[in-house]
C-alpha cells in the first residue's frame, strides 16, 4: 500500500461525485463509490483538472467524476462514501447529500452539498479497519498548496462531511429502501394486511421467512469481496456495469427476491466470469426486455416440493409470482412438514397456487410426482422451495420452446450460490452446450432451470421414488436421452446451497444406494432403450415406405423391425423398380406382416394405390418420406379413417433425385400438378414431391435426423436417427483382425471406408486424390457400393490398385467392414443441396463400430464434431484432411476416447432400442381419430386428379 497517496473527495456537483486521488506508486488510483451502503462504481482517478495541475499533482491527471445512479436522485438524504484500495482506505469522511425530490424544485434546492475541495495527505486517508477511530476523531483536512476549489466544484455552505462509525448498512438513510441482506417482505394481500393489526404481543403470528436471517448471512456492500482483488481497468468496468445495473433493478423491484439475493451473492464473489454473466443477463435480458410483456402462451405447471421450508419458501414463491409470464399454476406438494411451511404457503392468496399435502413424509421425488399428477399445463417447470427464479425465466424458456416446437426440453444457466454460515458467494455461473454423456459424468443442468413439454412426463414417467437423492439427475438423463435439450444462453436462476438448511444434497450425501440404482438404470437404457409408454389405443403401427426396391426402403424396414419388438407392426410398400426388394434385405425374414403392392403409372395405378390404402390396419401410420405412395397414402387413409399419420423426412425429396449442385428446392401448389399431367403419371416424379413437401407443415408429428431438414420444416421435427440393428452392430462379438485379414488387408494397413451409394456429390473422387496425397502405401480405400452407378464403375476401372470395391453388403457384413476400417471420410460437397439434408447411414455404421469419422462441417456433422464425436475438415481442404487423418493415427488415445464416446452416442440415439421411445414421443403429439384439414384438402385434390386422368383415358 502506498503511503504517499494524496487526494480528496470534493463533494457532489450536479449529480456527480467529484474528487481527486494521486498515488505516485499506483497511478491511476481506483476509487470505489458507495451510496447508502450500496456499491455504485469503481472509477479511475485520471481525469484532467487544471487546479490539480496548478497544485502539481501529476499534471492535473488525477481527478475523478462518478455519476450518481438514478435511484439516488429521487429525493431524500443519501450518504456517500468513497473508498480506495478495494475498501481498505476511506477517501475522506462520508458525507450526506440531499437529493432533489421528484417534484420540481427551485434550482437552488437542487444544488447538492459538497465540501471544500481538499487535498488530503496519505496520513489523512484512513484504513477501513480504522473507521471507528476515524469516526471519533475525523482527520483534519489540510488544505493543499493550492486548495482553492476548482471552478466547476460548488462549495455549498455548511456542508458537513460526515463520517459514520457504523457500517453503512445501519444508516437511517436506508429505511426508504430494502436493506442489503434483509429480504423484502412478501407482497401482502389485503386480507393478510387486515389481519395484521389483530396481532397482539401474546399471539405471535407466523411470519414467512422470519428465520431467513439465520440461514443467509449478510455482507455489506463495502465489504464485498470483489472490492479487494486486483483488477484491470476493463475488469473494473465490468464490476461497475454489473453492480450498477443490479442496484438499479434491486431498487426498481424491491419486492422481488431475485435481484437482492443475487447482489448479496455477488458481494462475496471474486470471480470475474460471474460478473460477466451477471452483466450479460442484466443487459441481454433485464434491460433489453424492460417494460415488455411476453405473449400469452400455454399453461405452465410449476412443480414445487416442500419439506420444512418455512424460512425459505416465501422467496421461491415470490420469485414465481413475480414472473413476467403469468399463465402458470404453481403446484406445491408439502411433504409432511413439521414446521410452518404450510402456513407460509397459505399466506399467499394467489389463485394460481395449488397446495397438496402428504400425510407422511415420502421424499422429494414422491412430492414432485404428486404435484405432477395434478399438473394441467402443456409445459412443466420445476422450482425447489429453497431456490429463486429470475423474473423472466418462464418467459425466456417458453420463447425457446415456442421457437423450437420439435424440441421437448430446454435449460438455462444458473448462478450456483454457496451460502455458508457467514459467507455467501457465487460459486459458478456458466452455461455449456449439451451432450448427455457429459451431463452424466459431471451434471451441469439444474432441475430448477430445466423446462419440458408434458409429453415427456406422459411417455417417460415422472421421478423415481426409490431415489433418496439425484432424482433430478435421473429424470434429466431420461428426458434428454433421445434428444438434447435446447440451451438458453443466459444464466438466469439462483441455485442456493445453504449450509444451515437441510438440503437433500447434504442430508442424503451418504446415500450410495441411489447412485447405484441410477447407474444400473442408465446401463439398461444403453442396452435396451429408454422405457416408454404408448397410449392404450395404439396397438398396431402401419409403416409405409413409398418403394421397396431400392435403398430408401432400408430406413422404413429398420423402423418397422425395431418397433416390432414393442408393438404389432405391418409394413406397406410398393414395388416401382425391377429389383424385387432392396437387395441387402432380400434374405431377411421380417418379424412383421408385409403388404406389398406393384407400382405402376396412373391411371392403371389408381387401383393398387387404393389397395395400399385399404391395407392399412394399424392404429397409427408411420409414413417414410413425403412421397405420394407413403405420405400421400397416409393422408388419404387419415381422410377416410381418422388414423393419425406421422411422417419421417430423411431427405429433402425435391433435391435428392440425381443430386447435383444446381438443384434448388421448389414448392408447388397442389393444382400445379394438373399442368404437369404427363409427369404426374409417374407416382414418384419430382412434381409429386414438390406439391407434397409444403403439406408436411400441417401434420402434427414429423421426424427427421438432420438439422437442416428440421429447419426446413420449421423446427417442428422430432428425431429418428438412421438407426441400425444393435444386435448386428456389436464390436465385442467380432474379431477385427480376422475380418481385416479376410478382406485382404494387412495388419498395419490404414483402411479408409467409403460406403453407400457411389455418387459424385458424396465426394468419392476426392478420396481417390487423397490416397495420392497421403503418399503412404498403408492407406487403402475400401468402397462398398449399394448398386452399380456409373460413378462406381468408372472408379473401379481407373484405380484398381489401391481401391477395393465390394458389392452391396447385408447389414451384418457392413458392421464387420466398419469394424475392420480405421476411418471414414464423409466429405459432403456443401454446394450440393442434397447432402445438406442427409444423415449418412455410413455415419451410423461408423459411430457403432469405431472407425473415426472425418466429415465436412455440413448439417449435423458440424455439431457432432463440436460434441467430440467426429472430426471436421472443410470440403476440398485436402491439406487439412491429410493432417487430420494422420492425427487419427498419431493420437491413439484421443482416437480411442472419441470412439467410446461415439459408441455411447450410437447406443443412445442410433440403435434399434432408440426407436420405440422416439416413436412413443411422436405418438404423444397425436390425437386418436382425427381427420386433418390437410388430408381433406389432399383427398379433394387427388379426387380431382383422378377424375381428370380417367377422363383423359
Amino acid at each position: 500500500m502506498s503511503t504517499s497517496i494524496r487526494g480528496n473527495f470534493d463533494g457532489v456537483k450536479e449529480n456527480n461525485l467529484i474528487g481527486w486521488v494521486f498515488d505516485p506508486d499506483n497511478h491511476p488510483a481506483e476509487v470505489m463509490a458507495m451510496i447508502d451502503g450500496e456499491f455504485v462504481a469503481f472509477a479511475e482517478a485520471n481525469n484532467y483538472r487544471p487546479d490539480l495541475e496548478r497544485a502539481g499533482f501529476n499534471n492535473g491527471l488525477c481527478g475523478f467524476r462518478i455519476a450518481i445512479p438514478e435511484q439516488f436522485l429521487e429525493g431524500g438524504t443519501h450518504k456517500v462514501e468513497l473508498w480506495l484500495e478495494g475498501g481498505q482506505r476511506r477517501l475522506g469522511p462520508a458525507l450526506t447529500f440531499q437529493s432533489p425530490d421528484a417534484a420540481p424544485v427551485p434550482p437552488a434546492a437542487a444544488k447538492t452539498a459538497a465540501p471544500e475541495p481538499q487535498a488530503i495527505p496519505a496520513s489523512a486517508l484512513t484504513k477501513a479497519s480504522d473507521d471507528k477511530v476515524a469516526a471519533k476523531a475525523p482527520p483534519e483536512a489540510k488544505p493543499s498548496p493550492e486548495s482553492k476549489p476548482a471552478a466547476d466544484v460548488q462549495s455549498p455552505p455548511k456542508a458537513q462531511p460526515v463520517t459514520e462509525s457504523k457500517p453503512a448498512t445501519a444508516t437511517p438513510a436506508k429505511t426508504a429502501k430494502p436493506v442489503s441482506g434483509t429480504p423484502a417482505e412478501p407482497a401482502k394481500t389485503p386480507a393478510k394486511e387486515s389481519k395484521a393489526p389483530a396481532a397482539t404481543k401474546e399471539v405471535k403470528p407466523f411470519v414467512p421467512g422470519k428465520g431467513k436471517a439465520a440461514l443467509i448471512p449478510k455482507i455489506d456492500a463495502k465489504s464485498a469481496a470483489f472490492n479487494t482483488i486486483q483488477r484491470s481497468v476493463s475488469e473494473s468496468s465490468i464490476f461497475n456495469g454489473a453492480i450498477g445495473t443490479l442496484n438499479k433493478f434491486c431498487n426498481l423491484y424491491a419486492d422481488n427476491p431475485y435481484y437482492e439475493r443475487l447482489r448479496l451473492a455477488a458481494r462475496g464473489t471474486t470471480r470475474l466470469d460471474c460478473f460477466v454473466q451477471i452483466s450479460n443477463t442484466l443487459s441481454r435480458v433485464d434491460q433489453a426486455r424492460e417494460g415488455q410483456l411476453p405473449k400469452v402462451g400455454p399453461l405452465v405447471s410449476i412443480i414445487m416440493p416442500a419439506h420444512n421450508r418455512e424460512d425459505l419458501i416465501d422467496d421461491a414463491i415470490r420469485s414465481v409470482l413475480a414472473q413476467s409470464y403469468k399463465r402458470f399454476e404453481l403446484i406445491i406438494c408439502d411433504d409432511f412438514s413439521k414446521d410452518n411451511t404450510v402456513a407460509a404457503i397459505k399466506s399467499f392468496k394467489d389463485p394460481r397456487i395449488v397446495l397438496t399435502k402428504h400425510a407422511e413424509q415420502r421424499g422429494a421425488a414422491a412430492a414432485r410426482n404428486s404435484s405432477l399428477k395434478l399438473a394441467r399445463g402443456d409445459i412443466i417447470a420445476y422450482l425447489d422451495s429453497d431456490n429463486v427464479w429470475h423474473p423472466r425465466y418462464l418467459e425466456i424458456m417458453l420463447e425457446e420452446l415456442a421457437n423450437w416446437p420439435g424440441n421437448m426440453s430446454a435449460y438455462a444457466g444458473y448462478f450456483d450460490i454457496d451460502i455458508g454460515e457467514d459467507t455467501i458467494r457465487i460459486k459458478k455461473a456458466e452455461i455449456k452446450g449439451f451432450h448427455l454423456e457429459d451431463q452424466l459424468a459431471v451434471p451441469f443442468v439444474d432441475l430448477n432451470s430445466f423446462i419440458h413439454r408434458r409429453q415427456l412426463y406422459d411417455v417417460l414417467g415422472g421421478f423415481d421414488e426409490r431415489l433418496a437423492r439425484r432424482q433430478d439427475y435421473d429424470m434429466i438423463a431420461r428426458y434428454c436421452w433421445l434428444r438434447e435439450p435446447r440451451v438458453v444462453p443466459h444464466v438466469l436462476n439462483l441455485y442456493q446451497r445453504i449450509a444451515n438448511a437441510q438440503q437433500i444434497t447434504k442430508v442424503q450425501k451418504e446415500d450410495t444406494k441411489s447412485p447405484q440404482i441410477i447407474a444400473d438404470k442408465i446401463e439398461g437404457y444403453y442396452k435396451d432403450g429408454l422405457p416408454a409408454q404408448l397410449p392404450s389405443w395404439v396397438k398396431k403401427v402401419s409403416v409405409v415406405s413409398w418403394d421397396m426396391s431400392r435403398n430408401h426402403f432400408a430406413k422404413a424396414y429398420c423402423v418397422a423391425e425395431a418397433l416390432s419388438k414393442h408393438v404389432e407392426v405391418e409394413m406397406i410398400s410398393y414395388r416401382f423398380f425391377d429389383e424385387e426388394i432392396f437387395q441387402p434385405l432380400a434374405d431377411k425374414k421380417p418379424p412383421f406382416e408385409c403388404k406389398y403392392f406393384e407400382g405402376g403409372t396412373f391411371p392403371d395405378f389408381f387401383g393398387n394405390f387404393a389397395k395400399g390404402m385399404e391395407a392399412i390396419t394399424g392404429d397409427v401410420i408411420y409414413a417414410v418420406k413425403p412421397r405420394l405412395t407413403s405420405f400421400g397414402l397416409g393422408l388419404m387413409a387419415n381422410y377416410h379413417t381418422g388414423k393419425p399419420v406421422m411422417l419421417e423426412c430423411n431427405d429433402l425429396e425435391t433435391v435428392v433425385n440425381n443430386a447435383k449442385s444446381t438443384d434448388t428446392h421448389a414448392e408447388k401448389q397442389l393444382t400445379d400438378l394438373f399442368a404437369a399431367a404427363d409427369k404426374a403419371k409417374v407416382p414418384y416424379e419430382l412434381i409429386w414431391s414438390e406439391i407434397l413437401d409444403p403439406l408436411v407443415a400441417e401434420i402434427p408429428t414429423v421426424f427427421t435426423h438432420n438439422i437442416n431438414l428440421n429447419l426446413h420444416y420449421d423446427r417442428r421435427c422430432l428425431y429418428m436417427r438412421n438407426i441400425k440393428d444393435d444386435s448386428l452392430y456389436r464390436p465385442q462379438d467380432m474379431d477385427r483382425d480376422a475380418i481385416r485379414k479376410e478382406l485382404g488387408f494387412k495388419p498395419d494397413d490404414r483402411i479408409i471406408l467409403f460406403g453407400g451409394l457411389v455418387r459424385k456429390h458424396k465426394g468419392i473422387f476426392e478420396l481417390v486424390d487423397l490416397l495420392n496425397a497421403l503418399g503412404d502405401p498403408r492407406y487403402k480405400l475400401l468402397v462398398v457400393g449399394s448398386r452399380d452407378t456409373p460413378d462406381l464403375m468408372k472408379l473401379s476401372k481407373e484405380h484398381r490398385d489401391n481401391i477395393t470395391v465390394l458389392p452391396p453388403q447385408p447389414p451384418e457384413q457392413m458392421a464387420a467392414i466398419n469394424l475392420a476400417s480405421d476411418l471414414i471420410v464423409l466429405w459432403l460437397d456443401p454446394n450440393v443441396p442434397a447432402g445438406q439434408y442427409q444423415s449418412p447411414y455410413k455415419m451410423s455404421d461408423a459411430l457403432a463400430m469405431g472407425p473415426t469419422i472425418i466429415a465436412s462441417p455440413t448439417s449435423d456433422l458440424a455439431d457432432l464434431a463440436t460434441r467430440g464425436l467426429m472430426l471436421n475438415v472443410p470440403f476440398g481442404n485436402q491439406k487439412k484432411l491429410v493432417t487430420t487423418i494422420r492425427r487419427v493415427f498419431d493420437q491413439p488415445e484421443e482416437t480411442a476416447k472419441r470412439q467410446q464416446r461415439a459408441r455411447k452416442f450410437f447406443e443412445r440415439e442410433f440403435s434399434y432400442p432408440a426407436v420405440f421411445p422416439a416413436f412413443a414421443l411422436g405418438v404423444s403429439k397425436l390425437e386418436k381419430n382425427k381427420v386433418y384439414p390437410v388430408s381433406e384438402r389432399f383427398a379433394e385434390f387427388f379426387a380431382e386428379y383422378r377424375r381428370r386422368t380417367l377422363a383423359e383415358k
Binding site: 389408381f606 387401383g607 394405390f609 387404393a610 389397395k611 390404402m613 385399404e614 391395407a615 390396419t617 388419404m636 381422410y639 377416410h640 379413417t641 381418422g642 381419430n929 381427420v931 381433406e936 383427398a939 379433394e940 387427388f942 379426387a943 383422378r946 377424375r947
Partner: protein, 457 residues
C-alpha cells in the same frame, strides 16, 4: 278416420327389434299428423277390432284377410314373390313398393293398385352435416345363414367392413362383426357416422324391383351406399349411389369410394335433395290419407249398412222433418218445401232427397258429397232463401260454423223465408241458436225444430 295397422312384428320381448315395428310406428305418426286415429295390431293380434274405419296391412311374411265392412289397404313392402292374387284382391287398395311390380299387376281385373315404395322416417333419419366424422364401411344385416354377396366381395377385395348383425360366425366372418344388434334409436347416428354403407337385396326383392328401406334411411342421413344393382334402383337413384354386380365392379366402386369420396358423398346428398321429399313416411301417409278419405267418403254415400244400424239412426231426422213439413203447411206454405240440407250424412241425404214434398239442395264446408261448396259466410247460396234448413251433426259442421256461432245463426236466419224453420241437432241447438224459439224441442229426441224469434210458422 280411425285406422288399424296390421303390423307383422310379433308381440314378445323382441317386438321392438323388428324393423316392421318401427315401420308401423313411423307410418302411424305420419298418419296422425293428418288427422287420423291410428292403432297398431301386432301379430298375432290381427283379429282385434278397435272400431276402425280402415285397416292397413303391412305385408311381410304373413297374409291377412280384411273384414269386408272396413276400408282395406295392403302395402307390400317385402317378399313380393309370396303374394297371391286371391289374397290381395280382397283389399280395396294394393300398394306395391316397386314400379316394376305395379306395371306387372295393374291391369289385372279386380285390383286397385298403386306404387308406394319404401320410405324413411325423416324425423329421425336426417343428415347433421358432420361428414368429417364419418368412419368405416359398414354393413347392417344378419346373415340368416346365407352368404351375402356384397360382403363376400368386400372380403375378397380386402375391404375392411364394420358388420352389425347376427349369425356371421358360422360363415367364417365373425371377425368382421363389431356388434350383433343395433338399437333402432341408435341407427340414425350410426349411419350419420358411417362413411359408406354396403347394401344388398334379397333376390326376390331385386327381381320385383323392390328397393329396401336401408337405401332411403342412409340417403336421408347423407350416407353413400354401395349396393347390388337392378334396373328400378338405377332408375330411382341414378349415379347417386355406387353399384356392384360382381367382384370387379365391387373393386371399381370401392376404388371410386377411396379415391373420389368427395364426389361419392356429394352425389348421394344431391340425390336425396332431389328425391327425399317423396320417400318419407309423411309422403306415404299423405298418399294413403288422400285415397282413404276420398274412398271412405264415397263409399259411405252408398249407405251400405250391413247390420241396418245406420238406417235406424236416420229415423229421428225423418220424423222431425215430417213434423216440420206439417208445420209449414199449416202456416200456408203450399209449394214444395224449399230445403237446404247442411253437413249431410249419406243417410240423411237419402231420407230428405226421397221426400216428395221437398225441393232439395245440400251444402257443406269445402268439397264433399253435397251440391254447394260453402264457406262460413254462406256466400255460395247467393240470394236463395229456404223454408227449411236441416243441419246434421257430421264432422263438417264445426268447420262450417267456424268461430262465430252468433254470426252463423244470424246468417242462417237471413236465409229463411218468412215462417221458415231450422232443424238442428239438439246437442248444438242451445249453443248455436240462443234466443230462437223452440217450436218443438224435445230433449229426448236428437233433433230440435227452431225458428228465429218473431217468426210464425
Amino acid at each position: 278416420m280411425k285406422i288399424a295397422i296390421k303390423n307383422p312384428a310379433p308381440i314378445g320381448p323382441n317386438l321392438e327389434k323388428w324393423g316392421d315395428y318401427h315401420f308401423g310406428l313411423a307410418l302411424a305418426k305420419s298418419l296422425e299428423k293428418l288427422g287420423a286415429t291410428v292403432v297398431q295390431h301386432f301379430w298375432p293380434n290381427w283379429d282385434n277390432d278397435d272400431g276402425e274405419d280402415m285397416v292397413i296391412l303391412l305385408r311381410g311374411k304373413r297374409s291377412y284377410t280384411p273384414p269386408p265392412s272396413k276400408l282395406s289397404l295392403i302395402w307390400i313392402i317385402s317378399h313380393p314373390g309370396t303374394i297371391k292374387y286371391d289374397e290381395i284382391s280382397k283389399f280395396d287398395m294394393v300398394y306395391v313398393a316397386s314400379e316394376t311390380h305395379y306395371k306387372a299387376i295393374r291391369s289385372l281385373s279386380g285390383l286397385t293398385v298403386d306404387v308406394a315404395r319404401q320410405c324413411t322416417d325423416t324425423s329421425v333419419f336426417f343428415a347433421d352435416g358432420q361428414d368429417k366424422l364419418r368412419r368405416d364401411v359398414s354393413f347392417v344385416a344378419n346373415s340368416r345363414g346365407v352368404r351375402r354377396e356384397v360382403l363376400s366381395w368386400a372380403v375378397g377385395a380386402g375391404t375392411p367392413v364394420h358388420v352389425v348383425g347376427r349369425h356371421w360366425g358360422n360363415l367364417g366372418l365373425g371377425h368382421l362383426v363389431k356388434s350383433q344388434y343395433i338399437d333402432n334409436d341408435a341407427l340414425p347416428d350410426f349411419y350419420r357416422r358411417t362413411r359408406l354403407t354396403l347394401n344388398d337385396h334379397w333376390s326376390d326383392m331385386a327381381h320385383f324391383g323392390y328397393i329396401n328401406n336401408r337405401i332411403f334411411d342412409c340417403l336421408a342421413c347423407g350416407t353413400p351406399i354401395l349396393t347390388d344393382e337392378f334396373s328400378e334402383l338405377r332408375t330411382v337413384c341414378g349415379d347417386g349411389i355406387l353399384y356392384a354386380s360382381d367382384m370387379n365392379s365391387f373393386g371399381a366402386a370401392i376404388e371410386e369410394y377411396l379415391l373420389d369420396y368427395p364426389s361419392v358423398l356429394g352425389r348421394a346428398q344431391q340425390l336425396w335433395q332431389r328425391i327425399g321429399a317423396n320417400y318419407s313416411f309423411d309422403a306415404r301417409a299423405a298418399q294413403i290419407w288422400d285415397w282413404a278419405t276420398t274412398t271412405h267418403s264415397l263409399r259411405n254415400s252408398l249407405c251400405y249398412d250391413a247390420d241396418g244400424a245406420r238406417a235406424a239412426s236416420a229415423e229421428p231426422l225423418t220424423s222431425v222433418i215430417g213434423q216440420a213439413v206439417d208445420l209449414l203447411r199449416k202456416a200456408g206454405v203450399t209449394r214444395e218445401v224449399q230445403t237446404l240440407h247442411l253437413c249431410p250424412s249419406p243417410w240423411g241425404t237419402s231420407s230428405l232427397f226421397a221426400n216428395k214434398e221437398i225441393s232439395y239442395l245440400s251444402g257443406g264446408f269445402g268439397r264433399g258429397p253435397w251440391h254447394v261448396l260453402m264457406d262460413c259466410e254462406m256466400g255460395g247460396l247467393a240470394n236463395k232463401h229456404f223454408d227449411m234448413i236441416v243441419i246434421e251433426p257430421t264432422d263438417n259442421l264445426a268447420d262450417l260454423v267456424g268461430q262465430d256461432q252468433v254470426g252463423f245463426a244470424k246468417r242462417l236466419a237471413s236465409k229463411l223465408n218468412k215462417d221458415g224453420v231450422v232443424v238442428a241437432p239438439s246437442e248444438h241447438a242451445k249453443a248455436l241458436f240462443a234466443g230462437w224459439e223452440g217450436i218443438k224441442t224435445d230433449k229426448e229426441t236428437p233433433f230440435a225444430l227452431l225458428q228465429p224469434k218473431g217468426a210464425k210458422a
